[in-house]
Subunit: 547 residues, 2 copies
């Protein structure tokens, strides 16, 4: 990014993403074809060089993904393994399925550790070398770019460096574009990765053909990757958010900004990721969490909600004088933002910025600012959280500013959940909700039940949400296009008691999306509060501030 | 741990835990005094050398913790800052409050980066050096072991190495036992940490007096710590589970096993942590998550639920032949365990082991094993999870083995949640639950409401749990000592629909604790299922298998 100033030509580093293959080995992760397509498109927009889409033939999802043949600028790569002993590469059905995916690149995992050749495969060392040779040659003959994932390379090199190196050499001699050194068990530490990569290069394997693939079993996957780059490797394999078998793979979401923004990498290397791609990194990381229905980890480097949050009082006041006092990069470069807790002096300017984002201009020094901060603080102590629930935050601020119209009043509600045997002697559940509101002086009673179109019970919150949205008088038309898209429940601490925090994500037909929060010891109450906020926020947007 | 075999004397590495101070800077974390005492006792049992308990005088919790004066084998350490300019160390009230805590060790943060001295403090470089000198000398004169946390040391050293070194030297000359190099902004990469630590030692600061304190802003806190140890630093600062400001501090839960189990550290160093302490690490990490009401991260190195889980089919079958094929250490050394997903061939022996742990001996090849695996798989597809809910897993297995007594039958239940204005025109909620069970041929109706002793509404699940446990006939006595201690709710994916998964943790008066799971689109149903499992598991334990 400082080309113009240094004038020096930069070396190219290649980024290889395996979120869709190794990332899918994460416990509890199983992507659908549609999700894989969405992630592949996002990776392509980011600017990685290779997208490993899965193992064609290994399961229906991976096969379905390649059948959909997504068009990407990045090289779509099919994963597989070297042919088995005792048959030719042409006659290996597993390898054939991989090639049938028709991808421009093929990555084959092969053994390079003698212990695994003899113990796990039960073949001779020579047979394994031949399997690598024939498999790579076959892929190249089919016109594909071939990569060898050298499984257990570091353990293998420690046990028998000559054999491990021979496996790499035969792959390169057979036409492989890359040999990738894999620390499959994740047990090798950064200093040793650096030493071994340097020795491999000294033994004649060019760094321009060397990749690195690490795992996080000692919390060093990123450090091992950087150590390999320092030593000369020029392809980096990893996954988004560090997904992967056991403790995960090297996290590209941490590695990419380090390579692009920090010394000595920024001046020395270039990747396929643009500044715009980098600025989309926070959103990309959160999108993947959304797909996995995971709560994004606040502490995540670069893209986490806490990554640029300055809680310590000394830090917060210094940040106001100069952000570089406690920040190693500008958060906007990765699409993240600074957060100074609102409970101290530094908070008022931060608060005014948040209010302005919601269209509420407030003069500096307005006493309402202090009241809003006090209110936020008191509610956070009860268990509320406004980090994501910006719509509820806006409503709270409007209340303090006297700019919250009362469109309608909820007089009461009642929800009943009943479970009993039906006529066919099967236990079934049904919920019923009654909501009573007053709109324009008129009382309106609405009742709904929790059964959906298919006859399934969707629970009490569903019934309540339907009853609330059933008759709001002249506001009814406005909320017709409101949809609840997600519902998150956390048990948290409010004062000394455990309380339930519900966050509801809503969308409407105009492309808006917003989040609201409710807190109560009673989960139904907490949900109702968040539902109510969702409706009120929407009414403000569509009916204006005058009720 | 291999003293006996190598015969060589090992160097001592000192572990300094700052969970209770820097860890408390984590967004959303606020320990109570009782929690701090509990964590301090656990750290002491682990065997760290120093426990930094907080900043006496900075807030009521930290002061309360030191007032309680916990007795630990580890050196209890109070944190503070060097005296301010323009007054003597004796007359600095902030420093006095730190010393008043009466701890054997005192750690003072001081500036070593000229930019921070002039910008953040607004004093001269000479004044800052004098603040360090006088503050350290004052602590030593009071008979305390003194440590200097050299804030922003790495950034400061890059800007002005001479000044940064001068700050270290004056602290040591004034009697500091340790100077700790802090990468406060977390932006320094491992290779540079290693280079600068080596240069500091070459400049005459002994490694035996050097500590390292890193942050995880580039996901390299552990790697930076190891690089500093490689270069000669002999004190390691960090926190449990990597808590800390922004992205957190170096994670001692990852660093300790690496130092104790892996080359080159295991043969070269010794720490105060015993093998028993190490074997308690998984439990310790989960205990902290419990205190913070966090879901433990499965992917956490060494101690996570997925750290030794082998999902890939090729890995799972190789693991059966020899665990070292895909494991870098034996999981039991850190108190963790291997998990082979039960949905493949490797799963049957794993399943028999889990059943044996529940007291259910099943012969290899018993067809019930296949049925249990199928049942687990089908229920996991619906959204159930048996990773933690071992009691529900046991009940499922018992059902397939024909060893699940039917103590009672639930005929129906009904829960009503109502919110309306009370006599004083305030909105209040109340839930009421009716449960109908059949015990020994007799039908029993029980009703309870959600109000607790203080008059607060505890919600529908509370009412339901009380009604269920109100009258179970001859089993009533057995469940009198059953207590629900935690209740966790997750929205997850069951088939194509979002469903609610509820995990309930229970305890009884005999010291047992167990977890059960329920899944439904209806949160009340999911909770009821988990409650029911909790009661049934307890009845099996106390009434035996014959109903």
């Amino acid at each position: 990014m400082s080309d113009a100033t240094t004038g020096a030509a930069k070396e190219r580093l290649y980024l290889y993403d395996t979120t869709l293959r190794d990332g899918q080995q994460t416990q509890g992760v199983q992507f659908s074809v549609a999700e894989k397509l969405r992630i592949a498109a996002a990776l392509d927009a980011l600017g990685v060089d290779y997208i490993e889409g899965g193992w064609p033939g290994a399961n229906p999802t991976d096969s379905g993904f390649f059948d959909a043949a997504p068009a990407t600028r990045a090289r779509m790569t099919a994963f597989g393994m070297t042919k088995r002993a005792g048959r030719s590469a042409e006659n290996d059905d597993v390898l054939a399925a991989v090639l049938d995916a028709g991808t421009p690149a093929v990555c084959l995992v092969g053994k390079t550790h003698e212990f695994h050749v003899t113990t796990a495969l039960g073949i001779t060392l020579e047979e394994n070398v031949e399997n690598i040779r024939a498999s790579v040659a076959h892929c190249v003959a089919k016109g594909r770019e071939a990569l060898l994932d050298a499984e257990h390379f570091f353990d293998g090199y420690r046990a028998n460096p000559g054999y491990a190196l021979e496996c790499l050499r035969v792959a390169l001699d057979s036409g492989a574009r890359w040999v990738v050194l894999c620390d499959t068990n994740g047990g090798t530490l950064p200093s040793e990765v650096g030493r071994i990569v340097a020795e491999v290069i000294a033994a004649g394997v060019p760094g321009e053909k060397l990749g690195i693939h690490t795992h996080n079993d000692t919390e060093n996957a990123v450090g091992c990757t950087l150590a390999a780059v320092d030593a000369g490797a020029r392809q980096v394999q990893g996954t988004l958010n560090g997904l992967g078998e056991r403790c995960g793979n090297a996290n590209l979401v941490s590695i990419i900004p380090t390579l692009m923004l920090k010394a000595p990498y920024a001046d020395r290397f270039e990747t396929g990721v643009s500044e715009e791609g980098l600025a989309g990194l926070t959103r990309l990381s959160r999108m993947l969490d959304d797909i996995l229905n995971r709560v994004p980890l606040k502490q995540t480097p670069y893209v986490g909600g806490s990554a640029f949050t300055h809680k310590a009082g000394l830090h917060a006041s210094a940040i106001l004088k100069d952000p570089t006092t406690y920040e190693h990069i500008d958060p906007s470069l990765v699409g993240n933002r600074r957060l100074v807790p609102m409970s101290n002096q530094a908070g008022q300017s931060n608060l005014r910025r948040r209010l302005a984002e919601a269209g509420l201009e407030v003069e500096p020094g307005d006493p309402a600012l202090g009241r809003i901060l006090d209110s936020v603080k008191a509610r956070e102590a009860e268990g509320y959280s406004y980090d994501t629930a910006e719509a509820s935050f806006e409503l709270l601020a409007r209340a303090e500013l006297g700019r919250l119209p009362e469109f309608f009043e909820v007089k009461r509600y009642r929800v009943t959940v009943e479970r009993r045997k039906n006529k066919r002697n099967k236990m079934v559940s049904l919920s019923e909700a009654v909501v009573v509101v007053k709109v324009d002086g008129e009382k309106k009673l609405s009742v709904s039940e929790s059964m959906d179109e298919t006859g399934s019970d969707r629970g009490p919150v569903n019934a309540l949400s339907k009853a609330l949205a059933k008759d709001l008088g002249r506001y009814q038309e406005v909320i017709e296009d409101l949809r609840l898209v997600d519902f998150k429940v956390r048990i948290t601490q409010g004062g000394t008691e455990a309380v339930t925090r519900v966050i509801i994500d809503s969308e409407d037909g105009q492309g808006r999306s917003w989040s609201t929060v409710g807190v109560s010891a009673n989960i139904v109450d907490a949900s109702f509060e968040a539902l109510l906020d969702a409706v009120r926020w929407k009414l403000i947007r569509d009916c204006g501030e005058v009720s």
